[in-house]
């Protein structure tokens, strides 16, 4: 990356703010995802807004109510709403309804598998629909906090109270239960399938080494971890929740056990959202004071993407080729940086 100069003094941080294009969104976005080069901003209610480059946003009516969750595989965006519907949107803005809950329960979480399978949850029930298959469901012992597909095979991690269930929808085998007391919300597999990590309701992460179910406790956060992302190559798990980006090392066979995390890009504000570059050891971090920094993991070098604005960063995403970074703020601002 040309913009990052490791010799730049830390006090006068290099800036690319002049290369950021402001985007005008018809409503504030809660998250952003890339469908190829098109940024899909997910509104908190009703609509998804597709922005091609710096063109005017196209508003796509996705739900009749609040949009509670969203996930993408790069080809389509899948959202779940409080209207009980799961819908998919492609880059042309075509909307397809994937499911409608019979009791119109809230769709609390969605996940996508690279081979096209979709998972969603409503209350205690997790659902999976693999391509050309019927919908299968699993009753979790308590409300589902989060869903994640394992990188290999059709295996779904279902986070709930007091642990995570690993369910193989196509196998008769009894689901595996990983126990740890507390409420587990977000959940993520490492790309090499060796580790599973949850973001808990308390200000902590919990992890399991899947080979032997050994526990990993990752604590010390001042606030709940709402955003986590694996760095390119899966060496680190970058997380929000503190006034620096906390990166837990996962490269060795023991993962972060007995190790200190890396702490990068400290500011006098809370990190709200992190997004790792898909190819380089670079991440973007959005803060509660509106700042967005690009951070090089190898040496902590920082680059300013958005100045402190008093308007917290709500969403960040990289395009799959790593050439574009999009963001949205809680107050409804949005921007695009093309590298």
């Amino acid at each position: 990356m040309a913009g990052l100069d490791p010799s730049a003094p830390a006090a006068s941080i290099a800036s690319v703010t002049d290369r950021v294009s402001a985007l005008s969104l018809p409503q504030p976005a809660a998250s952003v995802h890339f469908l190829g080069t098109i940024a899909a901003f997910v509104g908190s209610e009703d609509n998804v807004m597709l922005v091609d480059g710096t063109a005017e946003a196209r508003t796509i009516a996705a739900h009749g109510g609040g949009i509670l969750c969203a996930a993408t595989d790069g080809k389509r965006l899948v959202t779940g709403g409080d209207d009980g519907r799961v819908v998919a949107i492609d880059r042309r803005g075509e909307v397809a309804e994937l499911a409608a809950d019979a009791k119109r329960r809230w769709i609390d979480s969605v996940a996508l598998h690279p081979d096209g399978a979709v998972a969603w949850s409503a209350g205690k029930t997790a659902f999976v629909r693999a391509p050309k298959q019927e919908v299968k469901s699993f009753e979790a012992p308590s409300t589902v906090g989060g869903l994640a597909f394992a990188p290999k095979g059709l295996r779904l991690a279902i986070a709930h109270y007091n642990g995570v269930t690993l369910w193989f929808p196509n196998m008769a085998a009894k689901p595996e239960f990983l126990e740890w007391k507390g409420s587990h919300l977000g959940v993520a597999f490492s790309a090499d399938n060796r580790f599973l990590v949850t973001a808990m309701h308390e200000a902590a992460l919990h992890g399991w080494r899947l080979a032997d179910n050994k526990h990993m406790r990752m604590t010390g956060y001042p606030g709940r971890v709402r955003s986590m992302d694996w760095t390119a190559g899966g060496k680190f798990l970058a997380t929000s929740g503190a006034d620096t980006v906390i990166l837990w090392p996962f490269a060795s066979k023991d993962g972060p056990m007995g190790k200190e995390p890396l702490m990068l890009a400290p500011l006098k504000a809370r990190v709200n959202v992190v997004a790792c570059h898909p190819k380089e050891e670079i991440l973007a971090a959005g803060y509660s004071d509106g700042t967005i920094l690009m951070v090089r993991i190898t040496d902590g070098g920082e680059l300013l993407v958005r100045r402190k604005a008093g308007d917290a960063v709500a969403a960040l995403a990289w395009s799959a080729d790593g050439s574009r970074l999009a963001f949205a703020s809680e107050g409804g601002e949005a921007g695009l940086l093309v590298l």
């Binding site: 609040g66 409080d82 308590s142 409300t143 409420s183 309701h201």
Partner: protein, 351 residues
């Protein structure tokens, strides 16, 4: 009109009223009254999925009443996980409603709901617990207090008690049930009603959990006469207004309130240590606590409140000139170690 962002204060937070009470006491009647009255406000209503139906409102959300234990080594520190999730979802619809009413089943313990507001960062920044309103059936409450611990919890926890169906009991039965309520919780505002005909101002916007509103913590019945004087135009229709508050005294076997007071200055360090130790040790038994403290060498009133082991406190304001600098602390709980609490508090008086 101003486009400037509003400061984030308590008033910006969405008020949440918890409506509890035994099945059949009249919760749904009260809920529908609140929703149908012409107050110009929009409510989001959270109901138990298996609870009573027939609620006429745009925004009704089914809850699961799922409780989980916090991972902080404190066994009574339970939180309503579904509420965390629902509040997060509801905040996406901000602007569509002004307040939230959370109905719980007759079997639910109000503590996890209240504790959710103490411990969950997100819930806390966007919403505030306004009050716990318990609807009780005048005819059956006395019986339920004998055989159902949940009924006792709901009375003990209440900020407001709507004693409903008073037309179905005699004057002496009413006096008895009130005395039983007072034996458990003398501090809640009590309203006697038929068909839940209570002024909405008496159940909504109570700010019962607002530290700034902890003004005095006198038992309600001392001022019960006044409480009905102010000008709301509802028809009470009860004829048992003026007899003998506090004349009949019950002692509840396992749920009591305990009130401590001193006009001596209190040592802040000793008191804080004592209070924290007390709730850490006996918090499972202490349902609610509240206090106003006059610390030695401190010109400001200190106020605190708590639910089980969770406490929050702050300096409230300067003591007024001529105001009696008296410290008052109350606990409502089960099998309270009364003497130990009294002795402990007495030792906090500044030397």
């Amino acid at each position: 009109m101003s486009a400037a962002p509003a400061p984030s204060s308590a008033s910006d937070k969405i008020p949440v009223t918890v409506l509890t009470g035994y099945l059949g006491a009249g919760k749904t009647t009260l809920l529908n009254r609140i929703l149908s009255e012409n107050h110009g406000k929009k409510y989001a209503v959270i109901v138990n999925e298996f609870g009573e139906i027939g609620i006429d409102n745009d925004l009704v959300i089914g809850a699961d009443e799922e409780v989980f234990e916090m991972n902080n080594g404190c066994v009574c520190c339970t939180v309503r996980g579904d509420l965390v999730r629902i509040m997060e979802g509801l905040m996406k619809r901000r602007g569509k409603f002004d307040a939230i009413i959370l109905e719980t089943t007759g079997l639910a313990d109000p503590a996890p709901v209240a504790q959710t507001f103490f411990v969950d960062e997100d819930v806390q920044t966007k919403a505030r617990l306004d009050a716990v309103v318990t609807v009780a059936d005048a005819k059956w409450l006395s019986e339920r207090l004998k055989d159902a611990p949940e009924a006792k919890n709901q009375i003990a926890f209440a900020d407001v008690i709507v004693l409903n169906k008073t037309d179905l009991v005699s004057a002496s039965e009413l006096a008895e049930v009130e005395a039983r309520i007072r034996a458990i919780n003398p501090y809640a505002k009590l309203h006697r009603t038929e068909r839940c005909q209570v002024a909405l101002a008496d159940v909504l916007e109570r700010n019962a959990f607002d530290l700034d509103r902890i003004l005095d913590i006198e038992p309600d019945f001392l001022e019960a006469g006044d409480d009905h004087d102010h000008d709301h135009d509802h028809d009470h229709g009860h004829h048992h207004h003026d007899h003998g508050h506090g004349l009949k005294h019950y002692h509840d076997e396992d749920m009591q309130s305990l009130s401590l007071r001193t006009d001596q200055p209190v040592d802040a360090d000793k008191f804080m240590t004592w209070l924290q130790d007390l709730v850490a040790r006996d918090g499972a038994r202490i349902l609610r606590s509240k206090g106003i403290l006059a610390f030695k060498d401190d010109d400001e009133r200190y106020v605190f409140q708590g639910v089980h082991m969770m406490l929050e406190g702050d300096h409230q304001r300067k003591w007024n000139d001529g105001e009696a600098r008296e410290s008052r602390v109350v606990f409502i709980g089960r099998d309270l170690p009364e003497q130990a609490i009294r002795d402990g508090f007495a030792k906090c008086v500044a030397a």
